[in-house]
Amino acid sequence: MKREIPLIITGVVGIVFIVQFFIPHEPFSSLSDIFSDWFSIIEACAIWLGALNLIKLSLDKLGKPMLLVTSAIVVVALIVGIVGAPDEFLAGRFPLILFAVAFLLMALGQYSRSKMKPDWFFALTTIASFVIMLIAGLAFSGGRTFQEPGTHYDYLYRSVYTPLSSTMFAMLAFFVASASYRAFRARNREAAMLLVAAFFVMAGRVPLAEFLGTLTPDAFSGAWATTGGFLSGAADWVMNFPNAAGQRAIMIGIALGIVSTSLRIILGIERSHIGGE
């Protein structure tokens, strides 16, 4: 029961998507449409699961007294949200009530084993920012028009979410620099080829030589312009020919790998996704 049914589901769903490609007739086209809709809805729930799991892990770090206080504050906040939510029940109150129930269940479940951890404060900020975003979005942003420009939800998106997520990724620029200084060595012929190709792409995809041309006396600017043309041409050439060839070889390899793995999954030979043999 725990293993067979998932195996059957995997097989049936997978086969429908393959057969539908070759046989457009009913029932395969409708079935693949239905399974696509299922996928969409289950994925949405899977992401909800991730969010709830985050709250559960954060609650775990608070310690008993703090957990009680936090739960009380969150519940009050949710009640305020439920009262202030738009009139259409399903477009605000319903998800808030759902979350309130899930939250209380999780808090109850975690209570007995909750122990104060050193990073309890940051767990608390995580819970707080989650709940603020939730209530702002579900209760005070006008229901279905929640992401129109100017709503509270949109405001938090622009002024909190955007800078945080962007800056988190922008830090990689610094790490790339540090890595290129200390790690990227032409330690063998292969690595040397990699670095040479990288040089042409990096130098040729930006107007580097043209810029250097503007700094040098006029007598040299012609030479720089030629260099710019050469570097840019070299980058075009690398991208369109050797890069396309290498990418294509990788694509073909990966395609065959995916085909064989998918086949094993659909036929139930590969079972690690449902917990092994």
């Binding site: 070759f22 292969e190 073909i252």
Partner: protein, 425 residues
Amino acid sequence: MPTPTIISARRPTSHPRVFTAVIATLALIVAFGARNVAAQEPAEVTDTTAIVEAALTPPAPPANILADDAPNDAGGAIIVRWDKSPDEGAGLDNVGAYQLLRGRSPNGPFDTVGTMTAGMTEFNDGDVEDGIDYYYVVEVIALPSPDHPNVEPPVSISRPSQPARSSAQWIHMGRLNSLLAVVILASSILYFISKAKGGEKLFIRKIAGLEAVDEAVGRATEMGRKIFFIPGIQDMNNVQTIAGVTILGRVAKMAATYDAKLDVPVPRSLVMVAARETVKQAYLDAGRPDAYDEDMVHYLTDDQFGYAAGVDGMFVRQKPATIFYMGAFFAESLILAETGNSIGAIQIAGTAMPAQLPFFVAACDYTLIGEELFAASAYLSREPKQLGSLKGQDVGKFFILLFAIGGILLATFGVYNISHWFLVR
């Protein structure tokens, strides 16, 4: 008898109906023209007569409206094609748009199905019921005249099409080549899996990075430092993670044999469960169950950069002798590989993420590229299902090489171009 009746009933009636349609069209043109002229201020009509006429005369209607079932589909769609209006790009040159209308009889009533810009001569009507006859007319709408913004652009209507009905097909004819490819690939993969299960030894070539695993583990023992194993940042439903955990089993066995310390920080709870089982089994196989400690495999966090920062800190503090990266990596690959390199560890990496491979190639001592990761897990685990599918994939590659080399030669010497054999519609 009903079948011939329907056919014979359809053909002859269409002629007189076409006739009426023509008259109706003409009448419509006249009516529109009259209405528009009537709406004009007389003063405006007199200024530049030619422009006004061009603005008020509808373009000639398109001819040859052909409606037919859309091929290779599940039904519910009819493709309509028409010749462009003689006034498009020539003549009056005043075609603004086409409008497709559909009706149950050639006399109407017709409902609008879609509007197309000038230049279009085809529409796929995906909103019909199978088995019902539909008649289509195409209406051509004149360009709005900039001089007469209040005048509604005149229109003219084509003759109705022959009736068409949609139906579903059982086989998609444009995809038979793909079906053949599926059959060849699937059967060779399954054949080799069963062969491997039957105990036959399947050959796999040497993979450079794997030869170094022994040396790397031995070095950790000599130095008395740890071995770190990072199985990527994805969950167990990613094939690369599965391959990584398989390789972990082999590394753990060596670590147990050489008595080196192993440390496996993981970003997902499911991966932790799987990795613990694997490592435990490896220590058992090596005859060192006493040396196994559950905390060798431990969960850090799901968050990508949180995980990277955590692992980074462990590298710097514990200065491992050897680091393995085997699995699916994203932007954090760079942070990890750079730190590992800077503390002087031997690093062996393997991933099928093309965008992250350059960082591993540049910063690690050995890198398993793309499919090599899967080959490595098959090579090390000797599991029949993995060995067999690797061999089956090679059959696929063999055919691809054969067709690619042969096809290029044939095409270059002008014999025959086989490339369309591989076009899937």
